[in-house]
């Protein structure tokens, strides 16, 4: 297990044991800004070394994957878990989008294992943030309208797409990731050299601190699992594995390396807990955030960074 994950476990232990450990909110905010920018910058510098024409077809396929994943999750949630349209669409949006911190742990894992990966991957992370959220919200809304039509009433309150897209496209994670990508791209390897000490060399240490905080936060979501723990544990672990396989197979089809296949699998498996909850809370008011956040943060995030990551890597190696 990568040492950074041990920091996560320490945080989780502290919370469960009711320690008074608590990171200041401002530090959490600072660390997350750092991580997003650092990941973006790293990817931007690498994109500068590649031709955009070569990356573009892969990027389009990755966007399509982001839009497809909620379409897989939604019927599973509707049929097997018997969730409402709103809850199913909301959870599908979370799983269609990605978790940047999970990606950061994935990079740490591959670097430690000395597995190479396509270094422009942060671009894919940025591209995967948004489509899943939009499709999840559309699914929830279509269901609501269909139900309203069945009941003979007028369609439910329409989703206001303008403010919503503003929220998603200009949310902090997209702005910092894409901003970092562009700055890194423009600056190139030489231009970014003076920043290396801060953004690249300190990356692992900052990630470790952030994961300590994430352990505290994730363990705090355990209460959300109380009512439907069997469904939540089942969906929160099995769905990511299925999604990981989709990502890994797509990675192979796109001709990615084993490291790239692993990362695409991990991205497909990860669930958003920053961009998605913010957007869906307003767009799908009737969805229960306890369910979606309990799943994304309480089950899938810990699963992915501990057991999922090595599992996806093993699957990628097998399929290669």
């Amino acid at each position: 297990m990568d040492p950074v994950v041990l920091f996560f476990l320490l945080g989780a232990f502290a919370r469960l044991a009711k320690s008074d450990l608590r990171l200041p909110e401002a530090l959490y905010e600072t660390l997350s800004i750092y991580l997003l920018l650092a990941i973006g910058l790293k990817g931007g510098v690498e994109i500068a070394k590649h031709s955009l024409g070569a990356v573009a077809p892969q990027a389009l396929a990755v966007i399509a994957m982001g839009a497809l994943l909620p379409l897989v999750a939604f019927p599973v949630l509707r049929i097997f878990a018997k969730l409402s349209h709103a809850d199913a669409g909301n959870i599908a949006a979370h799983y269609g989008s990605v978790s940047v911190v999970t990606f950061a742990v994935g990079i740490a894992f591959l670097t430690r294992q000395q597995v190479a990966y396509e270094s422009y991957f942060p671009l894919f992370v940025a591209l995967l943030e948004v489509p899943g959220i939009v499709v999840g919200i559309l699914l929830a809304k279509m269901g609501r309208d269909a139900m309203a039509a069945d009941a003979g009433s007028s369609p439910a309150r329409a989703v206001r797409w303008g403010p919503l897209l503003h929220e998603v496209l200009l949310g902090k994670s997209v702005v910092l990731l894409v901003g970092g990508l562009i700055i890194g791209w423009i600056a190139g390897p030489q231009g970014i050299d003076p920043f290396k000490g801060l953004f690249f060399d300190l990356f692992r240490g900052v990630l470790a601190l952030f994961l300590l905080e994430m352990g505290l936060v994730a363990a705090g979501r355990i209460a959300d699992l109380k009512s439907r723990w069997l469904f939540m544990l089942g969906f929160g672990t099995l769905m990511p594995i299925c999604f990981a396989v989709i990502g890994i197979v797509l990675g192979k089809a796109l001709g990615l390396s084993v490291g790239g296949m692993t990362l695409l699998g991990l991205l497909a498996a990860s669930a958003s807990y920053i961009a998605a909850p913010t957007a869906t809370r307003i767009a799908i008011p009737e969805a229960n955030p306890g369910l979606s956040i309990g799943l994304a943060l309480g089950v899938t995030f810990p699963f992915n960074i501990t057991l999922g990551m090595p599992l996806y890597h093993a699957i990628a190696q097998r399929l290669n």
């Binding site: 807990y273 909850p277 913010t278 307003i282 008011p285 956040i293």
Partner: protein
């Protein structure tokens, strides 16, 4: 010193509602507002502000009674069904009535 009676409307809600609440309050006649980040708990659990999705705000509006009633009613109808919201009204005295 002469004082003037006004109403203080306090809305404690999920931070996700902040922009909407401010817009609504302005539209329904509030001249100003104050927002602070807070944390707390209720019947359905704790909101301890440990990450983005778990933040809460406390919004205070000082205004005429009619405006306070209108805003409160709007919040009740629009948000209370699906969001964590606490709300109360109090009598306050202000020194510069035109400001509110």
């Amino acid at each position: 010193m002469q004082t003037h009676p006004k109403k203080l409307l306090v809305i404690i809600a999920e931070a996700a509602l902040e922009k909407l609440l401010i817009k609504d309050a302005r539209r329904l006649g509030a001249h100003g507002y104050t927002v602070a980040e807070v944390h707390g708990g209720g019947a359905t659990g704790e909101r301890d502000a440990d990450w983005e999705g778990n933040r809460s705000i406390r919004m205070e509006v000082i205004c005429d009674e009619a405006v306070a009633q209108t805003i409160a009613e709007h919040v009740l109808n629009s948000y209370c069904k699906n969001y964590s919201v606490s709300m109360f009204l109090a009598d306050v005295e202000v020194l510069r009535p035109a400001k509110f």
